[in-house]
């Protein structure tokens, strides 16, 4: 057990994002990004997610992002909430 529980935050409504977190297979974090604006913003979403994950100190988390065109501030907030819930004792 690496202490990561299953959690979700956000929604699949337009201009929002659904972040799903669960334990990864190994000790490393894994990240999967799906977005309706992947072409324009896929790389940016990925780097924001990596940054938030690093800041949270999480290890061994599998993070899945289903983006419906969320603003960057929304994306950050959803990621933080999802990770917080996944790590809550």
């Amino acid at each position: 057990m690496n202490g990561v529980k299953n959690s979700v935050a956000g929604s699949l409504e337009s201009s929002d994002v659904l972040v799903t977190v669960g334990p990864a297979e190994g000790a490393e974090n894994t990240l999967d990004v799906e977005s309706i604006v992947f072409k324009q913003f896929g790389a940016r979403i990925r780097s924001v997610a990596e940054e938030v994950m690093a800041a949270s100190g999480v290890r061994g988390a599998d993070v899945r992002i289903q983006d419906r065109g969320a603003l960057e501030c929304t994306l950050r907030a959803r990621l933080e909430t999802a990770l917080e819930r996944a790590l809550k004792a």
């Binding site: 956000g10 699949l12 201009s15 072409k39 324009q40 913003f41």
Partner: protein, 517 residues
């Protein structure tokens, strides 16, 4: 304090919970405002949102999608509404998209549909165009995500649309807009916009011009057809033909009432393609799902019919033409937005793609209707397999492309007067089409009489010889006395004129030049 983000998460869970408890054959509809948070949360739209939600439910109920119960309140994310709708998810979503695209407030609302299995049918999977940005008319999501527009631009766009809705409501309440419709009125509202604040889908600027041009060609074609004489059995400036309930002025009133609609059909076509264009991996080829445009055209067509009936005091002057010319205006709009040539053949061909399958679909439903509710065309199809204007459109208007248009071109290039060329082309169309107007009133015998009389007049030289003109005069007497009115041929004459005008008015060339890099 709940934050907007929390409220949205709560709403999402509520959607899933409510959807999982839906009765069979129902889907869950959720309604939110589509505007930036400061506007959505400011309270100024709370009451209006409630009215919009009411209008949305009325709009759905007209299609038999009733909402037995609903819930509307203001959360920390702004006004939101929920209701259970009788209807399959995808059908309800289609209808909801029609509301978003055509209702005066449609641009400012988000209508989401959740199926009992939790799936959320989207515009893309239904082959419908993506949502447009309220400011620039481009695809909305990248604009929102990338904060492409300033708060001020967004605020003024939202206020403009809301004002358009208020103006439509004022007209509706003042009773000027006769049919009791809660939908967009035909009249333009607001400064400097042709049909103004009520029309939400906004193609790029040059497209506006071309759609206006398409609309003008169509409007002109309707007038030219009405003014041409002699037209045996039909209304002209000099005769009411076989009709007792309408005259030339009915046609002028109808033409004026419909004038703004043709451009709207063109815009529906143009914006539809623009949407399909932005799909990932698009190679610039037309959307394979042209048929997905037809429901939108039908929505507009119903409004056009209501406006026509209001203008003529309930007389059907142009119902058939609204269909065929509406489809062709949309076809032209699509071609233009793809940078393609709007030749008569291309327009008719694209029109056929838009209506593909319509004969089978429409008449399948006709069999289920009560006999008294069937249209003349439906009765004839069920009795004799006559496919009428639907069949003509689905085959790419062969009577127009192969018969009438070459005739009109030849007569005009030979120096015939426009009126005479139109009258003679009409004769030829009478010989070349199965006119459901004639079949409905005169049966097979009437139809044969019309064909033979027209053939005879043409053989005698048509409008170019005294004998021919005399034969046409005799047709007038015969058709009037036996109440035969070749309205189907007349509609195809207007279609012929439209395609001819599109080809010769410089429209096609202007479009081609503009698209050249």
């Amino acid at each position: 304090m709940t934050s907007p983000l929390d409220a949205r998460e709560t709403r999402w869970r509520k959607r899933i919970d409510l959807a999982s408890a839906l009765p069979p054959g129902c889907s869950l509809l959720s309604f939110t405002l589509r505007m930036p948070a400061p506007l959505r949360l400011g309270g100024e739209y709370d009451r209006t949102a409630g009215e919009w939600f009411d209008e949305l439910r009325q709009f759905l109920a007209k299609e038999g999608m009733s909402a037995p119960s609903y819930d509307f309140y203001v959360s920390a994310d702004g006004p939101e509404g929920f209701c259970t709708i009788r209807g399959v998810g995808k059908d309800v979503k289609r209808r909801a998209v029609a509301f978003e695209e055509t209702h005066p407030c449609g641009e400012l609302v988000d209508v989401d549909v959740t199926c009992p299995d939790g799936s959320v049918p989207g515009r893309r999977e239904l082959g419908l165009p993506p949502r447009r940005c309220v400011v620039c008319g481009g695809e909305a999501v990248p604009c929102v995500r990338g904060r492409a527009h300033t708060a001020e631009e967004l605020r003024s766009a939202v206020e403009r649309i809301a004002e358009g809705w208020r103006a439509c409501r004022r007209e509706r309440r003042s009773g000027l807009n006769a049919p009791a419709s809660d939908e967009r009125s035909a009249r333009g509202v607001g400064e400097g916009r042709t049909f103004g604040a009520c029309n939400d889908v906004k193609p790029p600027d040059h497209m506006e011009l071309y759609c206006a041009l398409i609309g003008r060609c169509a409007g002109t074609a309707v007038l030219f057809e009405a003014a041409a004489a002699p037209k045996p059995g039909l209304v002209t400036p000099f005769s009411n033909g076989a009709h007792t309930d309408m005259d030339y002025f009915s046609f002028l009133a109808s033409a004026a009432a419909l004038a703004s609609f043709w451009e709207r059909f063109a815009r529906l076509g143009a914006t539809f393609t623009a949407g399909a264009y932005m799909e990932e991996g698009s190679s610039g080829s037309p959307s394979p799902e042209c048929t997905a445009l037809l429901p939108l055209l039908r929505e507009e067509g119903v409004r056009a019919e209501q406006t026509m009936f209001a203008a003529t005091g309930g007389v059907n002057t142009h119902k058939g033409l609204i269909f065929s010319l509406g489809v062709l205006c949309a076809a032209c709009g699509m071609l233009v937005s793809e940078g393609k040539h709007t030749s008569p053949e291309a327009c008719a061909g694209r029109g056929a793609e838009i209506v593909r399958g319509i004969v089978e679909r429409d008449f399948a439903d006709a069999g289920k209707k009560k006999p008294s509710e069937r249209t003349a065309g439906e009765r004839l199809y069920l009795a004799e397999g006559v496919t009428g204007i639907r069949g003509e459109a689905e085959r790419g208007f062969p009577a127009v492309i192969e018969v009438a248009l070459p005739c009109l071109r030849k007569l005009l290039s030979d120096g015939a007067a426009l009126n005479d060329a139109l009258a003679e082309t009409l004769l030829l169309l009478m010989t070349a089409t199965e006119d459901t107007n004639i079949l409905a009133r005169g049966g097979r015998e009437g139809e044969r009489n019309v064909r033979e009389a027209a053939r005879n007049a043409l053989d005698l030289g048509g409008m170019r010889t005294e004998e021919g003109v005399r034969a046409v005069r005799e047709m007038e007497v015969l058709f009037t006395s036996s109440r035969l009115s070749p309205g189907g041929a007349a509609d195809l004459l207007a279609v012929t004129v439209f395609l001819h005008l599109m080809e010769t008015s410089g429209a096609t060339e202007a479009i081609r030049r503009a698209r050249r890099p």
